[in-house]
């Protein structure tokens, strides 16, 4: 009985480690995204990664305490990126006159 339980714990610990590494890489992308749209996408993925981390924690501890938080994140996590794409991105890079490609830099 102890063998599969230990296997499950090892798997879910690896899952939590993966989620934490993914969150760190996303923070890197958010800090130096070339444009605000990259940050918007990264924030959207970050909400999904937070939901996945809370799910891994819930699977590890077998409790459903964080399920409402996951629900709210799934329901409202996209509003930040929608707001950025709708109102800030056009202001962040104001009036790209000619659509000549490759002017974004860092590409």
């Amino acid at each position: 009985m102890s063998g599969p339980e230990t296997f499950d714990r090892v798997l879910m610990t690896c899952a939590v480690v993966f989620v934490v590494v993914a969150g760190a890489l996303l923070l890197f992308r958010i800090s130096r995204g070339p444009s605000m749209l990259d940050r918007a996408i990264a924030l959207d993925v970050f909400a999904a990664v937070v939901i996945a981390g809370l799910g891994a924690k819930s699977a590890f501890a077998r409790d459903s305490f964080y399920f409402p938080i996951m629900l709210v994140l799934a329901f409202l996590g996209f509003t930040g990126s929608v707001g950025i794409a709708r109102f800030i991105a056009v202001r962040d890079k104001p009036l790209s006159r000619r659509r000549a490609g490759g002017k974004e830099g860092q590409r």
């Binding site: 999904a48 996951m70 629900l71």
Partner: protein
Amino acid sequence: MNVWSQVADTAGAVLVFLGAAISLLGVVGMVKLPDVLSRSHAATKPQTLGLLLVLAGVGLRLHSGMDLATLALIGFFQLMTGPVAAHLVARSAYRTGQIERGELLFDDLDAQLTEPEPETEPGTEPEPGTGPERDQG
């Protein structure tokens, strides 16, 4: 019955592990890909497949009906809200000219936007001259 419960627990742990691994792979793609649209392509993997695998794993380890319903709602809302954000981000990237137009194989939207003034910026103050093509993206 105890054997099947153990099998369900192990399968749930494996699904959680696979979901976290797919999330990590998608995030690595988001870090390494060079463009807004490419990153948006990589961003859909953690949002849909990774998260659904994790939720399925959690549902296999928790056996309550209310928990399963909540997990189904989480997956449903994530699937509903993901394309909205991705669509708006890609639309804004196209409108503000932040994509590589030379690397596109097909550009069906370009025929609608061949105006002499390309800055039909969405969402700001309404300009009367750029009315018809505003909400077609």
